[in-house]
């Protein structure tokens, strides 16, 4: 009984889906892949974000404000002044930095605190938490880590941790473990090493200095307390809100995250084409069936509803599978995302995924929503199906023939609209992507027309090559344009996406490689290991610098100092170079004249990178105010240089000028020139020998550094490449499913051909030729769209995200790969139907549909 109590129409739909398991599975797969990519990127991003905010929360604690010095450090006497004279009881000294702990492959944030002052700020680092003060602050190198980390490292209280800070080694005796009381806290503390202020000062060579002073000030502090406190601060020190640091960091990664998201949406878009494609097929296949139902008195709306219901089912199943696989995929992606963030921006360790509500909700909404949107037109078409009283071929083909031109016109208009969006001033990244979307949709609407055109060219060609079967194959593509065009469009978009991203990465790489070539003029580079690859955040031991400079075979040297300073634009990276006028050969100026190099050793002028200029909307002649140890100081921007090392931007200044304003002798990097006739590799060996025991530093030849830089570059693009691979996968499956369905649907026609004497071999030929033709068409069409996409990615989205000038670089490799991808997928798609039809008795197929 109950078997019949369910809706017969729904039953009929379900059975149809189950009778076409390939089809059903592929459409679910289409949704699943799209959702999976979106969800995994979202989860990766949000996990990275959560990890960041948790670790920030752990480090910032409940501080509302912080006192910071001009160049990363602050005289510790300021703390006494603030606490004793200023009577700010809720104040705590902090020395911060990074260290690597031997045995675990991640960078730890080192927090040097005074546990007695910590209670209002970070309970885990406070005396009240149970820290054994006598062990902690008595002058020995001791510290605390979270219990979970201790388990990971297999150490217990009393054991010694070997750590490395900027290439210098220390051992820290573990005197306690931080017991975290919940998951969140565990996550927050899993990359934290807590030390006493004094221990941290020793580690970072910061005797007498603090990184900052944390404060908890009452809400109305801005009015009375802060101005009063400011009068107690030395020049260059300032009170800033503790969340402003988080904001800066979040701003840093915003464009990065957005682009990842956009790429994941691209995967979903390709997925939508797939869904549209499969739903259209499933409807077209069932047109007679639907016609019969209509004849029996099923209304149009009931048909519409039932098809949409199918879509929801597919969407739901695809979404659920997509979300689950997305979570798995995220495990991989989060590592890549974290790696990129670590290479590019700041130290971050993501030990576990944060599977929040929003990524999943978004995935579900997009999955089901996209399925519904993509299915709406097929569903509507289904409901418009003619009521069939007799078995008859659909008249759809004549309809699309009429629609080719209007579609193309709409397509061109959409493309123009996309172009229009690009012209919107200050359109931002979102405008770039929506323009991209318009162009893609526009292009796919022109595809039917392009197919007809291409068929005209291809028919005689294939006729010559493959005789009648060749001609028939091409002809078939046009006669069934309503189906073939969708399949080809899906294929084109998917393949074009891979071309676009491929070309963009290529362009980027080429630009960076040629930039590195001109940038790296010296023969040998010496750098301390830094926790963020693209940011020199540690220092060379001064004695080492002298020793290396005096090494036999070294003709000349210059140094750089990289430091974070506060400017009127926020916290920025300032690089001081001691190269003098010779630097003109190293730095490529985008704007500004060579007169800059004559003046920059004497005047308060500086150079900013193009990314910096773009991000902060500054140009030549503008003033930049930097907070120095001598107070706030104005500098004129007199040059803008190309720089692909940092997407946050750098400010470059002469060391002599720097020394006038900063009390800082430290050196972050050393470049050495070999004497004539000295073998660079030998020199490197000699330098390495001499550096032993002083500090572990990277001593690399020009070539070695270039390779290392390119390696880092490639690593930061791994996520993009993975996404591209996923898009290729989606595309591949899409083509496979679309073409396979197309051929399977023609089983009756093929049976007729077989009955009329076509041999199984000829059938193979026919089917494979036809799918091959479609593959070739898709491959060819994907090239212009791909290049268009690449163009927008490079010149609009990249520019708006980061501000880089890139050389547009199309490698034939990427294009060949695209066409090959399309053709191979298409050929593969022909195998199963050919095999099936060649094997089946034509009579069976003819007997009834």
């Amino acid at each position: 009984m109950s078997k019949y109590s369910s809706d017969l129409l729904w039953l009929s739909s379900l059975r149809f889906l189950l009778q076409h398991p390939w089809h059903f599975a592929l459409s679910i797969l289409g949704v699943a892949l799209g959702v999976s990519v979106v969800v995994s990127i979202d989860i990766s991003n949000s996990s990275a974000k959560t990890a960041f905010s948790l670790s920030t929360e752990a480090v910032t604690g409940k501080a509302t404000h912080q006192i910071q010095g001009a160049a990363e450090d602050l005289d510790e006497e300021v703390y006494q002044t603030i606490r004793i004279d200023g009577k700010i009881r809720k104040s705590a000294p902090v020395v911060e930095g990074y260290a690597r702990i031997t045995g675990v492959n991640r960078t730890f944030q080192v927090l040097g605190v005074d546990p007695i002052a910590e209670a209002p700020f970070r309970n885990f680092a406070s005396q009240e938490a149970g820290i054994e003060l006598s062990e902690f602050m008595a002058g020995e190198n001791t510290g605390l880590i979270a219990e979970s980390v201790a388990q990971e490292l297999e150490v217990s209280i009393g054991d010694t941790l070997a750590i490395s800070v900027g290439g210098r080694s220390f051992s820290i005796r573990l005197i306690g473990l931080i017991d975290t009381q919940d998951d969140r806290s565990r996550q927050a503390l899993e990359s934290l090493l807590v030390l006493d202020v004094s221990t941290a000062q020793r580690l970072f060579d910061m005797q007498g200095k603090l990184s900052q002073i944390d404060l908890i000030l009452p809400q109305n502090a801005e009015e009375n307390i802060i101005p009063e406190l400011k009068t107690m601060l030395p020049d260059g020190a300032d009170i800033i809100r503790s969340d402003s640091r988080t904001e800066t960091v979040e701003q840093m990664t915003r464009a990065f995250e957005f682009n990842l998201q956009a790429l994941s949406m691209l995967a979903l878009l390709v997925g939508m084409f797939l869904i549209y494609n499969t739903m259209t097929f499933s409807v077209v296949q069932r047109r007679p069936l639907i016609g019969r139902l209509r004849a029996l008195g099923v209304t149009k709306n009931e048909i519409l509803a039932i098809v949409l219901k199918e879509a929801v089912l597919i969407g739901l199943l695809g979404t659920v599978i997509g979300m689950i696989s997305g979570i798995f995929l995220a495990q991989v992606l989060v590592k890549l995302v974290t790696q990129s963030i670590n290479d590019l921006y700041f130290v971050l360790s993501v030990q576990e995924l944060t599977i929040g509500f929003f990524p999943l909700a978004k995935g579900a909404l997009l999955g089901i929503g996209a399925t519904l949107i993509a299915s709406f037109w097929p569903a509507r078409e289904a409901s418009q199906a003619e009521v069939s009283t007799v078995l008859r071929r659909s008249s759809n083909e004549s309809k699309i023939t009429k629609r080719i031109l209007p579609l193309a016109i709409i397509g061109v208009s959409a493309g123009l609209a996309g172009l229009g969006i690009l012209l919107i001033p200050n359109g931002g990244i979102a405008a770039g992507y929506s323009s991209l979307l318009f162009m893609i949709v526009g292009f796919s609407l022109i595809i039917p027309m392009l197919i007809v055109g291409m068929a005209k060219v291809l028919r005689p060609v294939l006729g010559k090559v493959n005789g009648l079967i060749g001609k028939m194959s091409v002809r078939g593509v046009v006669t069934e344009l309503s189906r073939t065009s969708v399949a080809i469009a899906a294929l084109v978009v998917a393949v074009a996406a891979t071309v676009g991203v491929g070309v963009m990465v290529d362009s980027f790489r080429t630009t960076v490689v040629s930039w590195l070539e001109s940038q790296l003029q010296a023969d040998v580079y010496v750098q301390p290991p830094s926790s963020v690859s693209r940011n020199a955040d540690s220092e060379l031991v001064p004695m080492l610098v002298d020793i290396l400079k005096e090494t036999e075979g070294v003709a000349e040297s210059h140094t750089v100092r990289s430091v974070d300073v506060r400017t009127n634009n926020g916290t920025d990276n300032l690089v001081a170079i001691d190269q003098g006028e010779a630097a003109r050969n190293t730095y490529q100026l985008k704007e500004g004249d060579s007169g800059f190099w004559q003046d920059y050793t004497e005047e308060n002028i500086l150079m900013v990178s193009e990314v910096y200029a773009y991000r902060n909307e500054v140009g030549l002649g503008d003033s930049l105010f930097i907070v120095t140890d001598r107070g706030r100081q104005g500098f004129e921007i007199r040059a803008i240089n190309f720089d692909y090392a940092s997407d946050i931007g750098t400010i470059t200044i002469n060391r002599e000028i720097y020394n006038q304003y900063f009390e800082d002798e430290a050196i972050s990097g050393l470049a050495l020139y070999a004497e004539d006739g000295v073998e660079v590799d030998e020199l490197v060996e000699r330098l390495r020998e001499r550096s032993k025991g002083l500090q572990e530093v990277f001593i690399r030849s020009n070539k070695g550094l270039r390779e290392a830089s390119i390696e880092i570059f490639d690593r930061t693009f791994t996520v993009t490449v993975v996404l591209r691979m996923l898009a290729i996968l989606v595309a591949f499956i899409g083509v496979l499913s679309a073409l396979m369905a197309l051929q399977l649907e023609r089983s009756r026609e093929l049976a007729v051909l077989r009955a009329n004497g076509m041999t199984p071999g000829q059938l193979w030929n026919y089917v494979i030729t036809q799918t091959g033709v479609m593959g070739v068409m898709a491959g060819i069409l994907s090239v212009p769209l791909g290049i268009l996409m690449a163009y927008i990615l490079v010149y609009v989205i990249n520019l708006r995200s980061f501000g880089w000038t890139l050389q547009f670089m199309i490698s034939s490799e990427v294009l060949i790969q695209a066409v090959a991808l399309a053709v191979v997928a298409a050929l593969l798609a022909g195998i199963y139907p050919s095999w099936k039809m060649a094997k089946t008795n034509p009579a069976d197929a003819l007997r009834n549909e």
Partner: protein, 391 residues
């Protein structure tokens, strides 16, 4: 129709997602576990008070690193012009956290943050009129200029709480006036100038005060039993000009009490006839009074008479149960010292003067009345009671 089915599906779906909703905005909660029996109460390596010694001044007014514990303990009763009474306690404790070794030698290590010296401050004001006792506790490392004790110039301080030598014409290196300044977070504040009115007293056996049978269970104990006090007290936003009398104990030791001893009752009394009495009884765990109970009686010129436990009859007349700790403290006594022809009635001026800080104890101002040599006398005092914690 079948729509319900879909709704149910959708709701289950959403519910499933909500299940994953992360708990937001929770504090990071953690505690620190340390190895058992680390350091602990091992006296190994510290200096010990093993016998009488010579004192040199001003050095011995300063800190004695190497001993585990040291304090500078100021108590006093002061009055406004109108006779309104305030009691105050201001103490800075020095705790050495690890035994002195070759490298550190027990000293605070100069400018550095490294130290094994932990300073602790207790500050309380007893507002007798309002029966209101306010107090605060502070900690700091004895380094980086945050807290410390030094002789030249004489300064004992914990951040902005400090005792600072004020030079006066009649000052020498043994007796000199100081200025005591401290402010609580609530704004309650003392700024008092305190000048010794009697010479320095070396308590116990020439400053060596044995407190237990065990070797080294003793302290070095110096006191100014009567000091003229003048200055300002601020409480509840009101500032009062006050004057009166203070008492200062400076004591250092590594271990004082024997294991059997549970706590003490410590009286410091300034009688209206110019005599001062210090008397403490150490209580054993079984409730009996320890043999090491002792006291001293200082005449107006500063001459000391030692008082032994058998000289004193102390009877508790009343008790008070602390609402904070449930500890029951004595609150009224009769003290008879026949040897001195002295009989005193003592009572806390109000009950709740418990110091509810990291180690709880009672430190309160006392009213004194009685007879000495047949003459009616009055006076002020302070009582410190420890070891009344309920287990």
């Amino acid at each position: 129709m079948k729509k319900l089915y879909w709704y149910i599906l959708a709701i289950t779906f959403i519910a499933g997602i909500v299940w994953f909703w992360p708990e937001q905005d929770q504090e990071i909660r953690a505690s620190v576990s340390v190895a058992e029996a680390m350091g602990g109460d091992d006296d190994e390596g510290y200096l010990r008070a093993t016998g009488p010694r010579e004192f040199t001044f001003p050095d011995d007014h300063g800190p004695h690193p190497g001993f585990r514990t040291e304090w500078w303990y100021y108590t006093g009763n002061v009055f406004t012009e109108e006779g309104r009474q305030f009691g105050y306690q201001f103490t800075i404790f020095r705790n050495q956290m690890s035994p002195p070794d070759n490298t550190t030698n027990g000293q605070a290590f100069g400018e550095d943050w490294d130290t094994n010296q932990l300073y602790l401050g207790h500050f309380a004001i007893s507002d007798v009129e309002n029966e209101d006792h306010v107090f605060e506790e502070r900690y700091s490392r004895g380094a980086a200029g945050l807290a410390g004790a030094q002789v030249e110039p004489y300064r004992i301080w914990l951040e902005d709480w400090e005792v600072l030598r004020v030079d006066a014409e009649n000052a020498d290196d043994k007796n000199f006036p100081v200025r005591v300044t401290a402010e609580m977070e609530t704004g309650s504040k003392i700024e008092l100038t305190i000048t010794p009115a009697k010479p320095l007293v070396l308590q116990g056996e020439e400053g060596y005060d044995k407190k237990g049978a065990e070797e080294g269970n003793a302290s070095y104990y110096l006191a100014f039993t009567r000091m003229d006090t003048e200055g300002l007290i601020t409480k509840n936003g009101e500032e009062y000009q006050v004057s009166g009398s203070s008492w200062m104990d400076h004591e250092w030791s590594t271990s004082a009490l024997d294991e059997s001893q549970e706590g003490w009752d410590w009286f410091s009394l300034q009688l209206s006839n110019g005599y001062d009495l210090m008397y403490y009884q150490l209580r054993n765990g079984d409730g009996s009074v320890s043999d090491f109970t002792t006291g001293s009686f200082i005449d107006p010129e500063g001459n000391k008479t030692i008082i032994n436990p058998e000289d004193v009859k102390l009877e508790v007349l009343n008790t008070w149960e602390s609402p904070h700790s449930r500890s029951v403290y004595p609150s009224q006594w009769v003290m008879k010292i026949p040897k001195l022809d002295l009989e005193l009635e003592l009572a806390t001026l109000f009950s709740d003067q418990e110091m509810d800080v990291s180690v709880r104890y009672f430190e309160g101002t006392l009213g004194v009345s009685g007879e000495m040599n047949g003459q009616q006398i009055g006076g002020n005092g302070f009582i410190e009671m420890t070891g009344y914690e309920q287990d």
